[in-house]
Amino acid sequence: MGSQTAARTLPQRQARQRSWVRREGFGLVALVLLVIGIIGPISTVLLWSFAEQWRYPALFPTRWGVSYWAETLSRADIRQALPTSFIATLLVTLLSALICFPASYAFARLRFRGRQVLLLSYLITNALPRFGLYVSIAVVFFRLNLIGTLAGVVLIQLLNTLLLMIWIPTSAFQGVDRALEEAALDVGASPLRVFVQITLPQVYPALAAALLLTLVGTFYETYGALLIGVPRVLTIPVIMFPLINNQPVPQYGAILSLILFAPSTLLLVFANRLLRGGYLTAGLGV
């Protein structure tokens, strides 16, 4: 009896496995392709950065080493560009927060004429072909002697951040129930305390999400920095252009990519812990 059952269940199990493969097959293939698509380029970059010699058709580098790392990091232009990039990014994010957060609070709370138009106008910088916009701004900056200055780079990058830094916090501030604030006023809190202890905690995830996206986005911003900063103020992404274009040395590109990759990865890991998942998307209103 028992052996009969076993005899019957074995083909059944196989049949079930076959149907599982058929059902999930497409998903599996998609997953594998996705992994190759994401991991592939990153691993190539990683491999190239530690390759001293990689001849076709070898699957892996033919000679390993870190000499290109030493060479890249000791280059004067890169040593200059790294701090420039960090300073510009931090300045842009800080200024953007100082300008945009109060503005978005006003957008959320005040009803004034032209509010909707003004709010939509931030979309314009993103709707136009960016390079065209930058060129015309560059003309103005040229007259103001801002070309080649850190202030110029910061200003043009600031422009980029406005949309995110105003739209996300505005919707977050709008989402705060006024009754929560009234309840705090009612038990005796001052308006400032209400803002700090009641309103801010409600919008904090959204503000953090906006800040994070701005930090990462600004660090990689290339066109504005290229057009306004060159030749005196160079950020890392700007340095990458000639390095990759002029010299057929893939190691430079790979190492710089990894350097650029590091801060955003660190930030995302930090953010992931800080925001305990879900908050980032909540801030974006997804």
Binding site: L180, A183, G188, A189
Partner: protein
């Protein structure tokens, strides 16, 4: 524990008058309900007392001192809101302790007060929970604790139970009644639910279109509504247009139904007769002097029975019928009011009692 006076309190929003003029006094320890349909200005009145709206004119006195110049965060009032307003990022304990910490009380005292407040609202072990872990009823209890813990002079409640389901609403209403009696706090409760007002209040202020129509004890409001609005708004009422002449009120002229007019009070003219559904005497067959009415619908409401009768010339009458016998739809009964109120153009309504009250059920 305090006395509250509103003196000619009014509020306009642009061209819209939200509150026309309120004059009333709430005694120490009294439970006052402000009752009215939505848009009558009751919430605006409450928000002016709390300090969330500035009055256009008039004065608000608490224990004889004007509080109009004070901001909301300085007034000795505490409010329970209609919406759930517990701060979601704070635990129940911190929600209740928030106001106490602002007052810089020692930690031990805060602990004690928060525990007592949670005990009072029947949630002694809930301090560590977050608001999202509480049901709607529990959240409103905590909101009540948060208001009471500050020992305000006046407790303000703005339809606090309106977002809860019917059963829970009744439970919390009873709970609130107990707590108010226990603490003897002066309380003002705004609601559009007359049952809530009738069961909670020491006195009810019925509001309509920015005015207080009547301010009285619940039983008086029900038995002797001073205006047609109150008569129509509180409970169920049959309102019948009538003409006064020669000591009689003629209702439904072509059918010649009459009722005795109140003695020597009325001039000839148009009046309105208001009859409660429980104030009808009835007989199985129309007798002389009774109004014949055909039963259109019988609604069984548990301990009593409501019927809609169609009477020629009178429209539909709402009548309560006893449960001691069955009634068929289409059956013709004779009905006659034994008690009614007559509303005329000038002065307050006049009550007419023709016989003993009709026992219901």
């Amino acid at each position: 524990m305090a006395r509250l006076e509103l003196i000619d309190l009014h509020k306009r929003f642009g061209d819209v008058t939200a509150v026309q003029s309120i004059n009333l006094t709430v005694a120490d320890g009294e439970f006052l309900c402000i009752l009215g349909p939505s848009g009558c200005g009751k919430s605006t009145a409450l928000r002016m007392i709390a300090g969330f709206e500035n009055p256009t004119g008039g004065d608000i006195l608490i224990d004889g001192a004007s509080v109009v110049a004070m901001d909301a965060n300085q007034r000795p009032t505490a409010m329970v809101f209609q919406k759930f307003t517990l701060w979601p990022h704070m635990r129940v304990y911190d929600n209740i302790a928030f106001g106490l910490r602002l007052r810089k009380l020692p930690r031990k005292e805060i602990d004690k007060k928060v525990d007592d407040a949670l005990e009072l609202v029947g949630l002694p072990t809930y301090g560590k929970r977050f608001p999202s872990q509480l049901s709607g009823g529990e959240q409103q209890r905590v909101a009540l604790a948060r208001a009471l813990v500050l020992e305000p002079k006046i407790l303000l409640l703005d339809e606090p139970f309106s977002s809860l389901d019917a059963l829970l609403r009744v439970r919390l209403r009873e709970e609130l009644h107990r707590i108010q009696r226990q603490t003897r706090i002066t309380a003002i409760f705004v609601t559009h639910d007359q049952e809530e007002a009738l069961s909670l209040a020491d006195r009810i202020a019925v509001m309509s279109k920015g005015n207080v129509e009547q301010l009285d004890r619940p039983s008086t409001i029900y038995a002797n509504p001073q205006t047609l609005f109150v008569a129509d708004f509180i409970g169920t009422m049959n309102l019948l247009p009538a003409t006064a002449s020669d000591g009689h009120l003629v209702i439904g002229a072509e059918h010649g139904y009459t009722l005795p007019a109140p003695q020597g009070v009325l001039h000839p003219g148009q009046v309105t007769v208001a009859i409660r559904p429980e104030d009808f005497a009835f007989s199985s067959a129309p007798e002389p002097g009774m109004w014949p009415g055909e039963i259109e619908q019988v609604i069984d409401l548990g301990h009593y029975r409501k019927a809609l009768l169609t009477a020629a010339g009178l429209g539909t009458l709402k009548v309560y019928l006893p449960k001691s016998r069955e009634f068929q739809e289409g059956e013709v009964l004779g009905v006659k009011p034994v008690r009614y109120l007559v509303y005329h153009e000038t002065g307050s309504p006049v009550e007419v009692q023709l016989g003993p009250p009709v026992p219901v059920s």
